[in-house]
Symmetry: C2
Subunit: 530 residues, 2 copies
């Protein structure tokens, strides 16, 4: 068993300078858990940042294989935490054991995916232009290009994925893969889980001889410790999944720095689902079941939770709605991740219930228990939705709003008015989809991922995933937080002109010793250069 | 001959709503040129932006080949301008004919490079994960990924490259290639040149049936028309080469928008050149000649102009300095691009000449003529340089500062203290370079391009170029403004989950009808999917 110490992990050192304390709470019981955590001081923020900057100078020269071994060893060390991690995490989040076990698998898979990418090596987009001394009017120089890490990265743990978007989550994995040291600002809802995972990373760093400062974990408030980290001159990029308020505050702080830095904040999304006419008629059961399940999965606490259901009124609508009501009434909620999240859900639901223009269409089953959210489905018309764009705003929890459109043109107009979302989903038969290419074309401009005949919850960790989307879904719609393309959050390209071969990074040397794909004079090849 | 009308080109329409006028001036003579230009009104900014947004909806569905033909037709139309373009441009900039002809070649080559990239098609980084219904515990969906254009892009013409970084320059070419309409804010120093090139683009757009609004040209002040464009809700990205003040003002305006957008501003760079000990001894002539030429090329009006020369003192230094002084004394200046640029150069040079801690080391030949800048080389010590970091700031023009370091450690410390630059150059023998890997490692973190035994002026247009660098060289060090990688300034990735094959973009369809490179389940291939 690993002892939870409630301190900051600053590189290989423990630090306990702070005098402010907090504890985590079991949201399902309200019980204050036994561990006490110190909040980091400004001096601890500075030490972690300076250590990360020093570590960067060593870590950035590590080979892809060395970095891969580090990530693989993190996987081993997290596995070694065994049931202690699962139990601690369940107690801090009220998430069920099977979910946390699944999330652990996903987290480890993600680390291994980046390790495999580093071992293969082609990710860094090596580009080579060979010299041509004879070119007229000017000789062509030899130019070679690849991606390098930006420097220390600050990652904010998210409450709703205590493993996969937290200490060893996607941003940490991609930053470490990119060659960047990481400082995690732990989420205050699962500090013990954070410490366990951080100690696993530290153990892996020690075992694989990584530099002191390659990884740190700090506790504290986002507005204090978080802002200090984001504004520290040694910090070069920031990753966050959280609320619009939190994400925007960090973004604003980062762009006002003497040296502005990129902030990749995923801030919320309503993930609209559209049902096209034939599907509304022929796929009622599948859509009703799937939608009710997707809205209430994990007590609705997913960034891809579908908060809007839009369809064009036709003769099948009444039957579909009946079916959907029945399915929804069979769902149930459960304890939310934190008291704050629960209270916010309750307040926002209560507010919507008072709105004249919104009908409470269906309720899920009531759950009695601490911080338990009950599912609610609202309904309104396209006319009202047009006048009240705030109905498209996310409510974090097991709720959604049905919007009945009078016509296809009203539906298209609503789609055009959407702001940026992580996902957009369309249910349609082949006929439907063929006759709604205009809708698909609009949605492609509004979201990072377009889902056909499925549901947005469930984000595949793979090369082709885009988990991101135009503002305000994220602060940087050019980026994804899931999948291998996320590594480019934390890199920039550099090129070398007429650099002697032996001084080039191995990836750019003539012999192509790593056997990677390269773009040589415009041709993609693994060949060596003659 | 094309008539210069001095109006705004808003899509396919001319517009002359404004009542404020200006004229361009021949900087070499002070002569006010015959053309009068209107500044765009707020309403014209709005119309151009809305038209660009409408055009985007059509242009974004054009195939790579259609976009390539558009770019190739722009090349033809610019060539058709013939000597009128060269003469107009020479009159507005005082740049010599050969230089403008060379810059035209470069501009056309750049457009053709993007056209070739579009015809080949692999640039959009297509990624495909095929479904696996049998996967446990959850089936794997089909996910397909590619890059799409962001939307209307605003490009600011630069004074120092009236063709290659102006109306049909790099940002325009890459934005059009990415599928984005472009609005150019013409530089007030070469408005007639801008109108000619804009009319060539408009002719090409008409001939290739591109949508109205795909391209507009507006005149006016950066602080007025420029800021209005950058803050217009329909504008989705901005490209600029200019001063720190101009770039930072646009960046600040863009990040404060309701929907923040990316600004790629290249803002200045001192492009330090380091001479290592053996090279200082054995390559005196080559370095002295090359450096003097690079500092004074084009009257020093290049963003890659080397403004710092750093070496470690040894017994060869005196001889090298003597040689350098001789070479520099043989250089001459000439008329600068604008009166403002000339006055700024004169003031800053006059200020530096008063500094006790800076020696005027060598003067170029005096030129008598309107707005003529004379080359000046300053010299100081490493100790002084350490105390006066402002000496590392760019002075736009034919000047540079020599810094003599007492020791390698002083040289390394100075390198570490550098801010971001576009380039960093090192002259060294093989021995020198091997013994200064620490210096190379530092410089890689400070610049976008590392030049060995050459000079930074001259930016090769190719796949492997990085013309960018960490802040404050640019506002976004993750990006390049030259070379094919610049297309990613104006794109984001989107993915499609379980989209029927026939509704996918051709690039992602099973058959791979375009025969492009794709990453299929992690394997790079041109094969079709079974």
């Amino acid at each position: 068993m690993v002892t939870i110490e409630g301190i900051q992990l600053i590189g290989f050192d423990n630090s306990a300078a702070g005098n402010e304390h907090f504890s985590s709470i079991n949201p399902a019981t309200g019980e204050v858990l036994q561990y006490t955590f110190r909040k980091a001081t400004e001096s601890e923020v500075n030490i972690a940042s300076e250590k990360a900057a020093s570590a960067f100078q060593i870590y950035r020269r590590k080979s892809g294989i060395e970095k891969a071994i580090f990530l693989e060893t993190i996987v081993d060390e997290i596995q070694n935490l065994g049931d202690q991690l699962i139990e601690t995490c369940c107690a801090e989040t009220a998430l069920p054991k099977a979910r946390i076990e699944g999330e652990r698998s996903r987290t480890l898979h993600q680390l291994l995916m980046f390790a495999a990418m580093l071992r293969e090596g082609s990710w860094l987009d090596a580009r080579i232009e060979t010299a041509d001394a004879m070119r007229s009017p000017l000789p062509k120089p030899d130019i070679r290009y690849l991606h390098i890490g930006l420097g220390p990265v600050v990652v904010f743990g998210a409450s709703n994925f205590p493993l996969a978007f937290s200490v060893a989550g996607g941003d940490t994995a991609s930053a470490l893969a990119a060659g960047c040291p990481v400082i995690v600002k732990a989420h205050s809802a699962h500090p013990a889980t954070a410490e366990l995972v951080a100690k696993a990373i530290r153990a892996a760093a020690t075992k694989t001889q990584m530099p002191d400062g390659i990884f740190s974990l700090l506790h504290g408030d986002g507005q204090v410790v978080g802002i200090k980290l984001v504004t520290h001159p040694q910090v070069k990029a920031v990753g966050l999944t959280g609320s619009f308020t939190a994400g925007k505050a960090l973004y604003d702080a980062a762009v006002k720095r003497k040296e502005p830095i990129p902030v990749y904040a995923e801030m919320g999304s309503t993930n609209p689902v559209f049902i096209l006419p034939e599907a509304l008629q022929t796929q009622q059961e599948k859509i009703a079941k799937g939608f009710a399940a997707s809205v209430t999965l994990g007590v609705g606490q997913f960034c891809t939770n579908p908060g809007l259901l839009v369809y064009e009124k036709n003769t099948s609508a009444a039957a579909f709605l009946q079916r959907l009501a029945r399915e929804f009434e069979n769902t149930s909620g459960g304890p939310m991740l934190t008291e704050i999240i629960f209270k916010s859900y309750e307040q926002r639901i209560a507010h919507r219930a008072t709105l004249q223009h919104l009908e409470v269409f269906a309720d899920g089953k009531k759950t009695t228990g601490k911080h338990c959210a009950d599912p609610v489905l609202f309904k309104t018309t396209g006319d009202i939705f047009e006048k009240h764009p705030d109905l498209a705003e996310e409510i974090f929890g097991p709720t959604s709003t049905i919007v009945e459109m009078e016509s296809k043109s009203q539906l298209l107009a609503a789609a055009k008015n959407l702001s940026g979302h992580l996902t957009a989903t369309v249910h349609g038969t082949d006929n439907d989809l063929a006759s709604h290419r205009d809708l698909l074309d609009i949605l492609e401009q509004k979201a990072g991922r377009i889902v056909i005949n499925g549901f947005p919850t469930g984000v595949e960790v793979c090369h082709a995933m885009v988990h991101g989307g135009p503002y305000p879904a994220t602060t940087d719609g050019r980026s994804t937080s899931v999948g291998t393309a996320s590594i480019f959050r934390f890199t920039r390209a550099v090129c070398f002109q007429n650099m002697p071969d032996q001084l080039l990074p191995a990836e750019l040397q003539n012999e192509n010793p790593l056997g990677i794909w390269r773009l040589v004079n415009g041709i993609r090849t693994k060949d060596r250069i003659q």
